[in-house]
């Protein structure tokens, strides 16, 4: 059975390695999150917003031309059609309602590519709470449209100028803000990372993805279980949501696609399961990329949503125990797969999601097998990158 224990561990991964200054906030959340989520009025509010505001259920689409090309049955879970264009909103809707139940009046978040920042700014506008988003100074420059979206919805975007000035540093800055504001603030973490109970709470909010997949597959194929689920993994929240209700169905292959960047051995990569080792990042014991001296390494990927030096403890456990298979996809393959999907199916995926599609070139499925790809986000935000390679694909 794959299940989190009461101390927040999946096998040997997880826990809450946090300074005492964070303890009261994290402990309050740990004690209350399950009870709040189980409250029928919370559940109803969450479900209603997912339906009427986010636009769920997201369609499960049989990709006919892609299936014919690869000689297997490929279904796409269309998280790109959610409000704000990615799966991230499932979690921010859940957490903003959680913050309200906890009586918090100020929201902070970190963001890399800006997708989680936009999803957080969105829900803060929705409920009328002030929102501060920490973003690496370098990412603010390279993801300008998302910065404008956040600002338009009233969020304050604060640059993280420490360390490497990217996602991990934005996360550090958000944690420091939380330390400095211990009473009124809730920190909406965007992935299945961080101290317990965040990985579990975020996975539960995202689990609506696989919950819908079950009945949608049953309707379309007669069987609620596919043969395989493919999802890209940075921190791992879309993958956690897509796997969640299949974790204990061993016949369903779970395939985690990481970013190889310029290549595993290039020194410019974010393939944590290959290049990482056990350690602690952002309060969680998991797999992360680090030096022999335990210094956290700055990862690289063309996709800002995948260049995180760790993975969530659930994924570390799934990969270490053999329940999930990890595969790494280079920038080049992700670009090619993104163009291919655009031309074959008329869907421009986020670059992150492009990595998941590239896995089809490396894993051969049988003709009758049913494969679900979690189409975690749409590609508008990556147009500038795509356009640079227009002549080549």
């Amino acid at each position: 059975m794959i299940k989190i224990d009461e101390r927040g561990y999946y096998g040997e991964f997880g826990g809450a390695f946090i300074p005492e200054m964070l303890h009261p906030n994290v402990e309050e959340l740990r004690q209350k999150y399950l009870e709040i989520m189980a409250d029928p009025t919370f559940e109803k509010e969450f479900r209603d917003l997912l339906k009427d505001y986010v636009g769920r259920p997201s369609p499960l689409y049989f990709a006919k031309r892609l299936s014919a090309h690869y000689g297997t049955q490929i279904y796409l879970k269309r998280e790109d059609l959610n409000h704000t264009g990615a799966h991230k909103i499932n979690n921010t809707i859940g957490q903003i309602l959680m913050a309200k139940r906890l009586g918090k009046t100020r929201i902070i978040a970190e963001t890399g590519a800006g997708q989680h920042g936009v999803a957080t700014a969105t829900v803060c506008a929705l409920v009328g709470l002030p929102c501060i988003v920490y973003m690496g100074a370098i990412d603010i420059d390279r993801q300008a449209p998302n910065v404008s979206r956040m600002r338009m919805m009233g969020a304050e975007v604060r640059p993280a100028n420490s360390g490497s000035k990217t996602l991990k540093d934005a996360t550090n800055e958000a944690i420091r803000d939380w330390i400095n504001n211990p009473e009124d603030t809730h920190y909406i973490i965007g992935s299945v990372v961080g101290p317990h109970p965040y990985p579990d709470m975020v996975a539960r909010f995202q689990s609506v993805i696989s919950e819908e997949m079950k009945w949608q597959l049953k309707e379309k194929t007669g069987n609620e279980n596919p043969d395989a689920i493919i999802a890209c993994v940075g921190g791992g929240s879309n993958a956690a949501g897509a796997y969640y209700h299949y974790l204990n169905e061993p016949d369903v292959r779970l395939i985690a696609v990481e970013a190889a960047g310029m290549g595993i051995d290039s020194g410019e990569s974010a393939a944590t399961s290959v290049l990482g080792s056990k350690g602690i990042i952002h309060g969680s014991r998991t797999l992360l990329m680090q030096t022999d001296d335990g210094q956290i390494v700055e990862p690289y990927s063309i996709s800002a949503g995948l260049d995180y030096p760790g993975i969530g403890p659930l994924h570390a456990h799934l990969i270490a125990s053999g329940r999930a298979e990890a595969i790494s996809i280079t920038d080049e393959d992700a670009l090619r797969a993104s163009y291919f999907l655009s031309k074959k199916e008329g869907i421009i995926p986020a670059l992150e999601t492009g990595h998941a599609f590239a896995a089809l070139d490396y894993i051969k499925f049988k003709e009758e097998e049913v494969v679900v790809i979690n189409l975690s986000g749409r590609g508008d935000k990556d147009l500038a990158t795509f356009v640079k390679h227009f002549e080549r694909f």
């Binding site: 826990g15 005492e20 200054m21 211990p182 335990g294």
Partner: protein
Amino acid sequence: MNRIQQLFNNKSSEILNIYFTAGYPQLNNTASIILNLEKEGVDLIEIGMPYSDPLADGPTIQDSGTAALKNGMNLPLLFEQITEVRQHTQVPLILMGYFNQVMQYGQEKFIKKCVDAGVDGVILPDLPTFEYEIYNKKMFEEADLNISFLITPQTSEARIRKVDELTRGFIYMVSNASITGTKTGISNKQIEYFERIEKMNLKTPRLIGFGISDNKTFSTACKYANGAIIGSAFIRALNKSENLADTIHSFVKKIKVG
């Protein structure tokens, strides 16, 4: 006997603990900083193991760590430097860092190396008491290596009692809800917190840290605890230093006598 216990046996008030980041401003300043601090009458010295992602620290200490890493500081080198300086001083030495550094070095090896090099205690702010009790306590106690846990104004009484039970050496009282180096001065609300802790009659000595930067804040802290810890203010002084001995002399003097 552990040098920290020895210190608290002989002295119970106005204890001055100064923090610096190993490898900063220069890679090989460790010995010189320690010996000068001791010469100026500093009671305890906390050596920061520079870390890429120091969650509990503010920009001053993080920047010094980034510079130290760039200078080439790492744990094996730091242990060599401490082993060498221990030949010349008996001042209690404490290592401060993050638990990932200990994990990667290897916990058993780390503890043994601390003892061999003459380190008396450690502060690992992201190691929870809960994990420590199950996985680490036995090894620390067998090696007679001290460990300090943190308490804050938000820490519950039950947890403070637990920290009092587990801490060996001194309790690190975080003066305010903050990261290091951000707030200066001490408010009435903080005084209430200091008094509340004083009334708990804890068995372990207490040092107050975070926001202590001059004679005024040091003296106030000393009224309510056995002493205080200064970090960021000292790093800022080192940052501008042209001569370590002079800088340390005037810095410590300013803290002790104003």
